[in-house]
Amino acid sequence: MLNIMAISLKGIFRDRIFQGIMGLAVLFLFIPSAASLSMRQVTELSITLSLSLISFIMLLLAVFLGATSIWKDIERRYTYSILSLPLSRTAYLLGRFLGIALFMLLTALFLGGVAMLAIKVASVLYPPARPVLWIAVLASILYGTLKYILLVAVSMLLATVSTSFFLPVFGTICTYLAGSITQQVYDYLHTPAAVKAISPIMKQAALFFYYLLPNLSAFDLKVNAIYALPLNASGLLMTALYFIVYTSVLLAAGAILLGRREMK
Protein backbone atom coordinates (compact mmCIF):
# COMPACT_ATOMS: atom_id res chain seq x y z
CA MET A 1 0.00 0.00 0.00
CA LEU A 2 2.80 2.41 0.88
CA ASN A 3 4.37 1.29 -2.33
CA ILE A 4 1.34 2.34 -4.36
CA MET A 5 1.23 5.56 -2.40
CA ALA A 6 4.82 6.37 -3.32
CA ILE A 7 4.14 5.61 -6.97
CA SER A 8 1.03 7.81 -6.93
CA LEU A 9 2.94 10.68 -5.46
CA LYS A 10 5.65 10.34 -8.08
CA GLY A 11 3.00 10.30 -10.77
CA ILE A 12 1.39 13.50 -9.57
CA PHE A 13 4.65 15.39 -9.44
CA ARG A 14 5.44 14.32 -12.99
CA ASP A 15 1.97 15.13 -14.26
CA ARG A 16 1.43 18.10 -16.51
CA ILE A 17 -1.96 18.93 -15.00
CA PHE A 18 -0.30 19.35 -11.65
CA GLN A 19 2.38 21.56 -13.10
CA GLY A 20 -0.25 23.71 -14.78
CA ILE A 21 -2.35 24.05 -11.66
CA MET A 22 0.68 24.92 -9.58
CA GLY A 23 1.40 27.66 -12.07
CA LEU A 24 -1.64 29.37 -10.59
CA ALA A 25 0.30 29.76 -7.37
CA VAL A 26 2.23 32.56 -9.05
CA LEU A 27 -0.90 34.67 -8.54
CA PHE A 28 0.00 34.92 -4.86
CA LEU A 29 2.67 37.42 -5.73
CA PHE A 30 0.01 39.87 -6.81
CA ILE A 31 -2.21 39.57 -3.78
CA PRO A 32 -0.75 42.37 -1.62
CA SER A 33 -0.68 44.84 -4.47
CA ALA A 34 -4.16 43.86 -5.67
CA ALA A 35 -5.52 44.19 -2.15
CA SER A 36 -3.90 47.59 -1.69
CA LEU A 37 -6.07 48.96 -4.49
CA SER A 38 -9.03 48.85 -2.15
CA MET A 39 -7.28 51.32 0.26
CA ARG A 40 -9.30 49.97 3.20
CA GLN A 41 -8.97 46.73 5.12
CA VAL A 42 -6.05 45.71 2.96
CA THR A 43 -4.93 42.89 5.26
CA GLU A 44 -8.44 41.46 5.56
CA LEU A 45 -8.76 41.53 1.80
CA SER A 46 -5.38 39.85 1.41
CA ILE A 47 -6.49 37.06 3.69
CA THR A 48 -9.73 36.64 1.76
CA LEU A 49 -7.97 36.55 -1.59
CA SER A 50 -5.26 34.17 -0.38
CA LEU A 51 -7.68 31.71 1.14
CA SER A 52 -9.91 31.83 -1.92
CA LEU A 53 -7.00 31.21 -4.22
CA ILE A 54 -5.87 28.24 -2.13
CA SER A 55 -9.42 26.89 -2.13
CA PHE A 56 -9.66 27.22 -5.87
CA ILE A 57 -6.36 25.46 -6.51
CA MET A 58 -7.21 22.70 -4.06
CA LEU A 59 -10.62 22.18 -5.62
CA LEU A 60 -9.06 21.77 -9.05
CA LEU A 61 -6.52 19.32 -7.67
CA ALA A 62 -9.16 17.34 -5.78
CA VAL A 63 -11.41 17.00 -8.80
CA PHE A 64 -8.72 16.16 -11.30
CA LEU A 65 -6.48 13.98 -9.19
CA GLY A 66 -9.31 12.16 -7.46
CA ALA A 67 -11.40 11.59 -10.53
CA THR A 68 -8.63 10.69 -12.94
CA SER A 69 -6.38 8.47 -10.84
CA ILE A 70 -8.42 5.25 -10.77
CA TRP A 71 -10.36 5.99 -13.88
CA LYS A 72 -7.15 6.50 -15.85
CA ASP A 73 -5.67 3.29 -14.47
CA ILE A 74 -8.66 1.35 -15.72
CA GLU A 75 -8.93 3.23 -19.00
CA ARG A 76 -5.28 2.79 -19.89
CA ARG A 77 -5.31 -0.83 -18.73
CA TYR A 78 -2.73 -0.22 -16.00
CA THR A 79 -5.03 -2.17 -13.70
CA TYR A 80 -4.13 -5.43 -15.45
CA SER A 81 -0.55 -5.08 -14.42
CA ILE A 82 -1.18 -3.52 -11.00
CA LEU A 83 -4.09 -5.58 -9.71
CA SER A 84 -2.45 -8.84 -10.75
CA LEU A 85 0.34 -8.15 -8.27
CA PRO A 86 -0.02 -9.65 -4.79
CA LEU A 87 -1.91 -6.61 -3.62
CA SER A 88 -5.54 -6.43 -2.57
CA ARG A 89 -7.81 -4.01 -4.34
CA THR A 90 -8.49 -2.33 -1.03
CA ALA A 91 -4.77 -1.72 -0.55
CA TYR A 92 -4.58 -0.35 -4.07
CA LEU A 93 -7.48 2.05 -3.46
CA LEU A 94 -6.11 3.19 -0.11
CA GLY A 95 -2.63 3.59 -1.53
CA ARG A 96 -3.95 5.73 -4.34
CA PHE A 97 -6.04 7.77 -1.92
CA LEU A 98 -3.27 8.28 0.60
CA GLY A 99 -0.88 9.32 -2.15
CA ILE A 100 -3.26 12.04 -3.28
CA ALA A 101 -4.18 13.03 0.28
CA LEU A 102 -0.54 13.39 1.24
CA PHE A 103 0.08 15.40 -1.86
CA MET A 104 -2.86 17.70 -1.07
CA LEU A 105 -1.48 18.21 2.40
CA LEU A 106 1.97 19.09 1.09
CA THR A 107 0.46 21.45 -1.44
CA ALA A 108 -1.66 23.11 1.26
CA LEU A 109 1.40 23.57 3.46
CA PHE A 110 3.37 25.05 0.62
CA LEU A 111 0.58 27.33 -0.58
CA GLY A 112 -0.27 28.20 3.02
CA GLY A 113 3.32 29.28 3.63
CA VAL A 114 3.29 31.45 0.54
CA ALA A 115 -0.10 32.88 1.47
CA MET A 116 1.04 33.75 4.99
CA LEU A 117 4.02 35.52 3.54
CA ALA A 118 1.74 37.55 1.30
CA ILE A 119 -0.55 38.36 4.23
CA LYS A 120 2.42 39.33 6.36
CA VAL A 121 3.65 41.72 3.73
CA ALA A 122 0.20 43.30 3.51
CA SER A 123 -0.13 43.58 7.26
CA VAL A 124 3.23 45.29 7.60
CA LEU A 125 2.52 47.77 4.83
CA TYR A 126 -1.05 48.43 5.91
CA PRO A 127 -1.44 47.52 9.60
CA PRO A 128 -4.95 46.13 10.20
CA ALA A 129 -7.36 47.31 12.93
CA ARG A 130 -7.19 43.93 14.66
CA PRO A 131 -3.91 41.98 14.56
CA VAL A 132 -3.95 38.94 12.29
CA LEU A 133 -4.96 35.77 14.16
CA TRP A 134 -2.40 33.44 12.58
CA ILE A 135 -3.78 30.35 14.24
CA ALA A 136 -7.15 31.01 12.60
CA VAL A 137 -5.53 31.46 9.21
CA LEU A 138 -3.67 28.19 9.67
CA ALA A 139 -6.78 26.36 10.88
CA SER A 140 -8.73 27.70 7.94
CA ILE A 141 -6.15 26.34 5.50
CA LEU A 142 -5.95 23.01 7.30
CA TYR A 143 -9.69 22.45 7.47
CA GLY A 144 -10.00 23.52 3.87
CA THR A 145 -7.51 20.79 3.06
CA LEU A 146 -9.58 18.23 4.96
CA LYS A 147 -12.60 19.33 2.98
CA TYR A 148 -10.84 18.75 -0.33
CA ILE A 149 -9.39 15.43 0.80
CA LEU A 150 -12.94 14.37 1.58
CA LEU A 151 -13.86 15.41 -1.96
CA VAL A 152 -11.04 13.26 -3.29
CA ALA A 153 -12.65 10.30 -1.52
CA VAL A 154 -15.97 11.21 -3.14
CA SER A 155 -14.46 11.29 -6.60
CA MET A 156 -12.60 8.02 -6.05
CA LEU A 157 -15.80 6.35 -4.93
CA LEU A 158 -17.50 7.56 -8.09
CA ALA A 159 -14.53 6.43 -10.20
CA THR A 160 -14.75 2.87 -8.88
CA VAL A 161 -18.13 2.40 -10.54
CA SER A 162 -17.80 4.68 -13.54
CA THR A 163 -16.59 3.76 -17.00
CA SER A 164 -16.03 7.36 -18.06
CA PHE A 165 -14.49 10.32 -16.30
CA PHE A 166 -17.74 12.25 -16.67
CA LEU A 167 -19.36 10.88 -13.53
CA PRO A 168 -16.37 11.32 -11.20
CA VAL A 169 -15.55 14.83 -12.42
CA PHE A 170 -19.04 16.27 -12.52
CA GLY A 171 -20.28 14.20 -9.63
CA THR A 172 -17.52 15.64 -7.48
CA ILE A 173 -18.20 19.19 -8.57
CA CYS A 174 -21.92 18.74 -7.85
CA THR A 175 -21.14 17.21 -4.46
CA TYR A 176 -18.94 20.19 -3.74
CA LEU A 177 -21.62 22.70 -4.67
CA ALA A 178 -24.41 20.84 -2.90
CA GLY A 179 -22.28 20.05 0.13
CA SER A 180 -21.46 23.72 0.58
CA ILE A 181 -25.11 24.73 0.91
CA THR A 182 -26.73 21.81 2.74
CA GLN A 183 -26.31 23.55 6.07
CA GLN A 184 -28.10 26.63 4.81
CA VAL A 185 -30.92 24.54 3.41
CA TYR A 186 -31.17 22.66 6.68
CA ASP A 187 -31.30 25.86 8.68
CA TYR A 188 -33.89 27.30 6.34
CA LEU A 189 -36.09 24.20 6.72
CA HIS A 190 -36.27 24.86 10.41
CA THR A 191 -37.38 28.46 10.17
CA PRO A 192 -41.09 29.12 10.85
CA ALA A 193 -41.56 30.45 7.31
CA ALA A 194 -40.33 27.23 5.76
CA VAL A 195 -42.42 24.99 7.96
CA LYS A 196 -45.51 26.62 6.45
CA ALA A 197 -44.31 26.90 2.85
CA ILE A 198 -42.76 23.47 2.21
CA SER A 199 -44.64 20.19 1.97
CA PRO A 200 -43.59 17.42 4.37
CA ILE A 201 -42.42 15.19 1.52
CA MET A 202 -40.14 17.87 0.16
CA LYS A 203 -38.81 18.39 3.61
CA GLN A 204 -38.12 14.68 4.04
CA ALA A 205 -36.29 14.61 0.70
CA ALA A 206 -34.23 17.64 1.63
CA LEU A 207 -33.36 16.11 4.98
CA PHE A 208 -32.34 12.89 3.26
CA PHE A 209 -29.86 14.77 1.12
CA TYR A 210 -28.70 16.74 4.11
CA TYR A 211 -27.66 13.54 5.83
CA LEU A 212 -26.36 11.84 2.67
CA LEU A 213 -24.21 14.63 1.27
CA PRO A 214 -21.15 15.81 3.11
CA ASN A 215 -21.68 18.97 5.10
CA LEU A 216 -18.81 20.99 3.74
CA SER A 217 -19.70 24.33 5.31
CA ALA A 218 -18.54 22.96 8.66
CA PHE A 219 -15.00 23.03 7.29
CA ASP A 220 -15.21 26.69 6.37
CA LEU A 221 -13.27 28.83 8.85
CA LYS A 222 -12.66 31.77 6.52
CA VAL A 223 -14.66 34.17 8.63
CA ASN A 224 -12.56 33.39 11.70
CA ALA A 225 -9.41 33.94 9.71
CA ILE A 226 -10.47 37.16 8.06
CA TYR A 227 -11.91 38.93 11.10
CA ALA A 228 -9.52 37.37 13.63
CA LEU A 229 -12.36 35.69 15.51
CA PRO A 230 -11.40 33.07 18.10
CA LEU A 231 -11.85 29.41 17.14
CA ASN A 232 -14.32 27.05 18.73
CA ALA A 233 -12.24 24.07 19.90
CA SER A 234 -15.05 21.59 20.37
CA GLY A 235 -16.52 22.54 16.99
CA LEU A 236 -13.14 21.89 15.38
CA LEU A 237 -12.88 18.51 17.06
CA MET A 238 -16.35 17.54 15.89
CA THR A 239 -15.53 18.54 12.34
CA ALA A 240 -12.30 16.52 12.41
CA LEU A 241 -14.21 13.48 13.65
CA TYR A 242 -16.84 14.05 11.00
CA PHE A 243 -14.10 14.14 8.38
CA ILE A 244 -12.60 10.85 9.58
CA VAL A 245 -15.91 9.01 9.74
CA TYR A 246 -17.28 10.33 6.46
CA THR A 247 -14.06 9.68 4.53
CA SER A 248 -13.75 6.18 5.99
CA VAL A 249 -17.28 5.33 4.93
CA LEU A 250 -16.62 6.62 1.41
CA LEU A 251 -13.41 4.62 1.13
CA ALA A 252 -14.99 1.47 2.53
CA ALA A 253 -17.79 1.74 -0.01
CA GLY A 254 -15.22 2.38 -2.73
CA ALA A 255 -13.22 -0.67 -1.69
CA ILE A 256 -16.29 -2.90 -1.82
CA LEU A 257 -17.33 -1.61 -5.22
CA LEU A 258 -13.84 -1.86 -6.67
CA GLY A 259 -13.52 -5.39 -5.30
CA ARG A 260 -16.61 -6.43 -7.21
CA ARG A 261 -15.68 -4.68 -10.40
CA GLU A 262 -14.52 -6.79 -13.32
CA MET A 263 -11.34 -5.71 -15.08
CA LYS A 264 -12.46 -6.67 -18.57
Binding site: N3, Y78, S81, S84, E262, K264
Partner: protein
Protein backbone atom coordinates in the same frame (compact mmCIF):
# COMPACT_ATOMS: atom_id res chain seq x y z
CA UNK B 1 -0.06 -30.09 -5.81
CA UNK B 2 -0.69 -28.73 -9.29
CA UNK B 3 0.73 -25.41 -10.35
CA UNK B 4 -2.63 -24.54 -11.88
CA UNK B 5 -5.83 -26.43 -11.32
CA UNK B 6 -8.92 -25.38 -13.23
CA UNK B 7 -12.17 -27.27 -12.92
CA UNK B 8 -15.51 -26.57 -14.50
CA UNK B 9 -14.60 -22.98 -15.25
CA UNK B 10 -17.27 -20.99 -17.10
CA UNK B 11 -17.37 -17.34 -18.02
CA UNK B 12 -20.27 -15.57 -19.55
CA UNK B 13 -20.02 -11.95 -20.61
CA UNK B 14 -23.19 -9.93 -20.61
CA UNK B 15 -23.33 -7.51 -23.45
CA UNK B 16 -25.78 -4.77 -24.26
CA UNK B 17 -29.40 -5.65 -25.03
CA UNK B 18 -29.24 -8.90 -23.08
CA UNK B 19 -26.77 -10.52 -25.46
CA UNK B 20 -24.56 -13.08 -23.81
CA UNK B 21 -21.22 -14.44 -24.86
CA UNK B 22 -20.07 -17.77 -23.48
CA UNK B 23 -16.37 -17.05 -23.48
CA UNK B 24 -15.49 -20.18 -21.50
CA UNK B 25 -17.47 -23.38 -21.34
CA UNK B 26 -16.73 -25.81 -18.56
CA UNK B 27 -12.97 -25.74 -18.76
CA UNK B 28 -10.93 -28.41 -16.96
CA UNK B 29 -7.18 -28.10 -17.04
CA UNK B 30 -4.25 -28.99 -14.80
CA UNK B 31 -0.71 -27.75 -15.12
CA UNK B 32 1.82 -29.78 -13.19
CA UNK B 33 4.93 -28.21 -11.65
CA UNK B 34 7.85 -27.97 -14.03
CA UNK B 35 5.67 -28.11 -17.10
CA UNK B 36 5.69 -25.74 -20.05
CA UNK B 37 2.17 -25.53 -21.39
CA UNK B 38 1.15 -23.88 -24.63
CA UNK B 39 -2.38 -22.56 -24.82
CA UNK B 40 -3.39 -22.31 -28.45
CA UNK B 41 -6.52 -20.93 -29.98
CA UNK B 42 -7.77 -18.62 -32.72
CA UNK B 43 -8.75 -15.01 -32.00
CA UNK B 44 -11.62 -14.72 -29.58
CA UNK B 45 -11.29 -18.33 -28.43
CA UNK B 46 -11.15 -17.49 -24.74
CA UNK B 47 -7.43 -17.60 -23.98
CA UNK B 48 -7.21 -14.19 -22.36
CA UNK B 49 -10.50 -14.81 -20.57
CA UNK B 50 -9.00 -17.93 -18.96
CA UNK B 51 -5.92 -16.03 -17.94
CA UNK B 52 -7.87 -13.08 -16.53
CA UNK B 53 -9.90 -15.51 -14.43
CA UNK B 54 -6.67 -17.03 -13.13
CA UNK B 55 -5.28 -13.64 -12.16
CA UNK B 56 -8.48 -12.59 -10.41
CA UNK B 57 -9.14 -9.74 -12.82
CA UNK B 58 -12.56 -11.13 -13.70
CA UNK B 59 -14.79 -13.46 -11.75
CA UNK B 60 -15.76 -16.78 -13.32
CA UNK B 61 -19.49 -17.37 -13.73
CA UNK B 62 -19.06 -20.93 -12.47
CA UNK B 63 -16.32 -23.34 -11.54
CA UNK B 64 -13.16 -23.01 -9.49
CA UNK B 65 -9.48 -22.57 -10.08
CA UNK B 66 -6.41 -22.61 -7.88
CA UNK B 67 -2.85 -21.47 -8.36
CA UNK B 68 -0.29 -23.31 -6.24
CA UNK B 69 -3.22 -24.54 -4.17
CA UNK B 70 -4.55 -21.06 -3.46
CA UNK B 71 -7.97 -20.09 -4.84
CA UNK B 72 -7.75 -17.55 -7.62
CA UNK B 73 -8.70 -14.01 -6.72
CA UNK B 74 -6.90 -14.21 -3.37
CA UNK B 75 -3.77 -12.19 -2.75
CA UNK B 76 -1.96 -15.42 -1.78
CA UNK B 77 -2.62 -16.94 -5.21
CA UNK B 78 -0.63 -14.14 -6.82
CA UNK B 79 2.46 -14.26 -4.62
CA UNK B 80 4.24 -16.99 -6.58
CA UNK B 81 3.28 -15.93 -10.08
CA UNK B 82 4.83 -13.78 -12.73
CA UNK B 83 2.08 -12.49 -14.99
CA UNK B 84 2.33 -10.84 -18.38
CA UNK B 85 -0.95 -9.30 -19.61
CA UNK B 86 -1.89 -9.21 -23.27
CA UNK B 87 -0.55 -5.99 -24.84
CA UNK B 88 0.64 -4.78 -21.46
CA UNK B 89 0.60 -1.16 -20.32
CA UNK B 90 2.53 0.16 -17.37
CA UNK B 91 2.60 3.50 -15.55
CA UNK B 92 4.25 5.39 -18.34
CA UNK B 93 5.69 8.17 -16.22
CA UNK B 94 8.02 5.62 -14.61
CA UNK B 95 11.19 4.29 -16.14
CA UNK B 96 11.71 0.57 -16.65
CA UNK B 97 14.06 0.50 -13.69
CA UNK B 98 11.62 2.29 -11.39
CA UNK B 99 8.81 0.01 -12.44
CA UNK B 100 10.79 -3.15 -11.84
CA UNK B 101 11.77 -1.88 -8.41
CA UNK B 102 8.13 -1.11 -7.66
CA UNK B 103 7.08 -4.65 -8.65
CA UNK B 104 9.90 -6.19 -6.65
CA UNK B 105 8.92 -4.21 -3.57
CA UNK B 106 5.32 -5.30 -3.96
CA UNK B 107 6.63 -8.87 -3.85
CA UNK B 108 8.55 -7.89 -0.71
CA UNK B 109 11.98 -8.63 -2.12
CA UNK B 110 14.90 -7.65 0.10
CA UNK B 111 16.74 -4.56 -1.13
CA UNK B 112 20.07 -6.17 -2.07
CA UNK B 113 18.43 -8.95 -4.04
CA UNK B 114 16.09 -6.50 -5.73
CA UNK B 115 18.93 -4.31 -6.96
CA UNK B 116 20.82 -7.29 -8.29
CA UNK B 117 17.79 -8.84 -10.00
CA UNK B 118 16.74 -5.50 -11.50
CA UNK B 119 20.11 -5.09 -13.16
CA UNK B 120 20.17 -8.69 -14.33
CA UNK B 121 16.72 -8.66 -15.89
CA UNK B 122 17.23 -5.27 -17.53
CA UNK B 123 20.39 -6.58 -19.14
CA UNK B 124 18.81 -9.89 -20.12
CA UNK B 125 15.96 -8.20 -21.95
CA UNK B 126 18.23 -5.58 -23.49
CA UNK B 127 16.60 -2.66 -21.73
CA UNK B 128 19.76 -1.56 -20.01
CA UNK B 129 20.37 1.52 -22.13
CA UNK B 130 16.77 2.69 -21.85
CA UNK B 131 16.34 1.87 -18.18
CA UNK B 132 16.33 5.49 -16.95
CA UNK B 133 13.95 6.84 -19.56
CA UNK B 134 10.22 7.10 -18.81
CA UNK B 135 8.30 4.29 -20.49
CA UNK B 136 6.16 6.88 -22.28
CA UNK B 137 8.92 6.97 -24.86
CA UNK B 138 9.26 3.20 -25.32
CA UNK B 139 8.39 1.32 -28.49
CA UNK B 140 5.82 -1.46 -28.42
CA UNK B 141 8.44 -4.17 -28.30
CA UNK B 142 10.30 -2.42 -25.50
CA UNK B 143 7.13 -2.27 -23.41
CA UNK B 144 6.63 -5.98 -24.08
CA UNK B 145 10.16 -6.56 -22.82
CA UNK B 146 9.42 -4.60 -19.65
CA UNK B 147 6.38 -6.85 -19.31
CA UNK B 148 8.56 -9.93 -19.48
CA UNK B 149 11.12 -8.42 -17.14
CA UNK B 150 8.50 -7.69 -14.47
CA UNK B 151 7.37 -11.34 -14.53
CA UNK B 152 10.89 -12.53 -13.82
CA UNK B 153 12.16 -10.04 -11.31
CA UNK B 154 11.07 -12.04 -8.27
CA UNK B 155 11.96 -15.42 -9.77
CA UNK B 156 8.48 -16.97 -9.32
CA UNK B 157 7.69 -20.67 -9.61
CA UNK B 158 4.91 -20.13 -12.12
CA UNK B 159 4.73 -17.89 -15.16
CA UNK B 160 1.44 -16.98 -16.77
CA UNK B 161 2.08 -15.21 -20.04
CA UNK B 162 -0.57 -13.92 -22.44
CA UNK B 163 1.06 -13.87 -25.85
CA UNK B 164 4.64 -13.34 -24.70
CA UNK B 165 6.02 -13.12 -28.24
CA UNK B 166 3.61 -10.51 -29.52
CA UNK B 167 5.21 -7.31 -30.70
CA UNK B 168 8.74 -8.71 -30.60
CA UNK B 169 11.23 -8.85 -33.44
CA UNK B 170 12.73 -12.23 -34.45
CA UNK B 171 15.66 -11.69 -32.11
CA UNK B 172 13.30 -10.92 -29.25
CA UNK B 173 11.26 -14.00 -30.01
CA UNK B 174 14.28 -16.23 -30.04
CA UNK B 175 15.25 -14.68 -26.72
CA UNK B 176 11.87 -15.43 -25.21
CA UNK B 177 12.06 -19.05 -26.38
CA UNK B 178 15.49 -19.30 -24.84
CA UNK B 179 14.21 -17.82 -21.60
CA UNK B 180 11.30 -20.25 -21.45
CA UNK B 181 13.59 -23.21 -22.08
CA UNK B 182 15.87 -21.95 -19.35
CA UNK B 183 12.94 -21.63 -16.95
CA UNK B 184 11.99 -25.21 -17.77
CA UNK B 185 15.50 -26.35 -17.01
CA UNK B 186 15.21 -24.68 -13.62
CA UNK B 187 11.99 -26.53 -12.86
CA UNK B 188 9.61 -23.60 -13.28
CA UNK B 189 6.11 -23.95 -14.66
CA UNK B 190 5.09 -21.83 -17.63
CA UNK B 191 1.58 -21.38 -18.97
CA UNK B 192 1.44 -19.25 -22.06
CA UNK B 193 -1.05 -18.42 -24.77
CA UNK B 194 -0.08 -17.91 -28.36
CA UNK B 195 -1.20 -18.18 -31.97
CA UNK B 196 2.16 -19.28 -33.24
CA UNK B 197 2.32 -23.07 -33.43
CA UNK B 198 5.97 -23.03 -34.27
CA UNK B 199 6.84 -21.56 -30.87
CA UNK B 200 4.80 -24.22 -29.15
CA UNK B 201 6.52 -27.05 -30.93
CA UNK B 202 9.93 -25.80 -29.87
CA UNK B 203 9.37 -25.10 -26.20
CA UNK B 204 6.25 -26.82 -24.87
CA UNK B 205 5.74 -30.10 -23.11
CA UNK B 206 2.01 -30.06 -23.63
CA UNK B 207 -0.50 -28.07 -25.62
CA UNK B 208 -4.17 -27.34 -25.25
CA UNK B 209 -6.25 -26.01 -28.09
CA UNK B 210 -9.27 -23.93 -27.21
CA UNK B 211 -11.91 -23.00 -29.78
CA UNK B 212 -15.00 -20.96 -28.96
CA UNK B 213 -14.49 -21.36 -25.24
CA UNK B 214 -14.13 -25.12 -25.37
CA UNK B 215 -10.97 -27.13 -24.92
CA UNK B 216 -10.85 -29.21 -28.10
CA UNK B 217 -7.51 -30.92 -27.70
CA UNK B 218 -5.06 -31.58 -24.92
CA UNK B 219 -1.96 -33.63 -25.52
CA UNK B 220 1.80 -33.73 -25.23
CA UNK B 221 3.75 -32.23 -28.09
CA UNK B 222 5.55 -35.55 -28.45
CA UNK B 223 2.29 -37.44 -29.01
CA UNK B 224 0.99 -34.93 -31.48
CA UNK B 225 4.17 -35.10 -33.46
CA UNK B 226 4.17 -38.90 -33.43
CA UNK B 227 0.50 -39.13 -34.38
CA UNK B 228 1.11 -36.66 -37.12
CA UNK B 229 3.45 -39.04 -38.99
CA UNK B 230 1.86 -39.79 -42.34
CA UNK B 231 4.59 -41.88 -43.86
CA UNK B 232 8.14 -41.75 -45.14
CA UNK B 233 9.99 -40.39 -48.10
CA UNK B 234 12.43 -43.10 -49.17
CA UNK B 235 15.16 -42.42 -51.66
CA UNK B 236 16.83 -45.20 -53.67
CA UNK B 237 19.73 -45.26 -56.10
CA UNK B 238 18.88 -45.99 -59.73
CA UNK B 239 20.79 -48.43 -61.89
CA UNK B 240 20.99 -51.00 -59.19
CA UNK B 241 18.49 -53.77 -58.29
CA UNK B 242 15.00 -54.20 -59.73
CA UNK B 243 13.00 -51.02 -59.25
CA UNK B 244 10.04 -52.64 -60.95
CA UNK B 245 9.37 -54.58 -57.77
CA UNK B 246 8.49 -51.26 -56.06
CA UNK B 247 5.87 -50.30 -58.64
CA UNK B 248 3.13 -50.40 -56.02
CA UNK B 249 4.51 -47.25 -54.29
CA UNK B 250 4.05 -43.69 -55.44
CA UNK B 251 7.05 -41.92 -56.86
CA UNK B 252 7.29 -38.35 -55.68
CA UNK B 253 10.47 -37.32 -57.51
CA UNK B 254 13.14 -38.76 -59.73
CA UNK B 255 16.29 -37.73 -61.57
CA UNK B 256 19.14 -39.60 -63.32
CA UNK B 257 20.60 -41.10 -60.18
CA UNK B 258 17.81 -41.23 -57.57
CA UNK B 259 14.11 -42.03 -57.16
CA UNK B 260 12.01 -40.90 -54.21
CA UNK B 261 8.98 -42.86 -53.06
CA UNK B 262 6.26 -41.92 -50.67
CA UNK B 263 5.72 -44.89 -48.33
CA UNK B 264 2.76 -44.88 -45.95
CA UNK B 265 3.42 -45.96 -42.38
CA UNK B 266 1.65 -49.29 -42.90
CA UNK B 267 3.66 -50.10 -46.02
CA UNK B 268 7.11 -49.31 -44.67
CA UNK B 269 8.13 -52.83 -43.66
CA UNK B 270 6.96 -54.25 -46.97
CA UNK B 271 8.92 -51.61 -48.88
CA UNK B 272 12.12 -52.33 -47.01
CA UNK B 273 11.68 -56.08 -47.43
CA UNK B 274 11.06 -55.74 -51.17
CA UNK B 275 13.98 -53.39 -51.59
CA UNK B 276 16.27 -55.76 -49.71
CA UNK B 277 15.06 -58.74 -51.68
CA UNK B 278 15.60 -57.09 -55.04
CA UNK B 279 18.94 -55.47 -54.13
CA UNK B 280 17.65 -51.89 -54.32
CA UNK B 281 19.95 -49.60 -52.37
CA UNK B 282 18.06 -47.31 -49.99
CA UNK B 283 20.04 -44.09 -49.62
CA UNK B 284 17.79 -41.93 -47.44
CA UNK B 285 14.67 -42.22 -45.28
CA UNK B 286 12.81 -39.13 -44.11
CA UNK B 287 9.64 -39.00 -42.00
CA UNK B 288 6.87 -37.02 -43.56
CA UNK B 289 4.49 -35.59 -40.99
CA UNK B 290 1.88 -32.95 -40.49
CA UNK B 291 3.27 -30.11 -38.48
CA UNK B 292 1.58 -28.66 -35.43
CA UNK B 293 0.15 -25.95 -37.61
CA UNK B 294 -1.99 -28.33 -39.63
CA UNK B 295 -2.91 -30.19 -36.45
CA UNK B 296 -4.05 -26.89 -35.03
CA UNK B 297 -5.95 -25.89 -38.14
CA UNK B 298 -7.70 -29.25 -38.26
CA UNK B 299 -8.88 -28.93 -34.67
CA UNK B 300 -10.04 -25.38 -35.18
CA UNK B 301 -11.99 -26.46 -38.25
CA UNK B 302 -13.55 -29.30 -36.29
CA UNK B 303 -14.35 -27.03 -33.35
CA UNK B 304 -15.99 -24.47 -35.59
CA UNK B 305 -18.28 -26.92 -37.35
Amino acid sequence: MNAIDISGLCKQFKGKKMTRVDALKNLDLQIVPGEVFGYLGPNGAGKSTTIKCLMGLIRPTAGTATIMGEPVGSVASRTKVGFLPENPAFYDYLSAEEYLRFVGKTFRMPEALLSRRTDETLKLLELWDARKRPMRGYSKGMVQRVGLAQTMIHDPDLYILDEPMSGLDPIGRALVKEIILDLKKRGKSVFFSTHITDDVEKVCDRVGVIVKGQLEALDSVENIVRKGIEGYIVQTRLGQGEHDSLKGFNITRRNETFVEYFVPVAGFNEFIALAGHHSVEVTLVETKRKDLESFFLEIVRKGNS
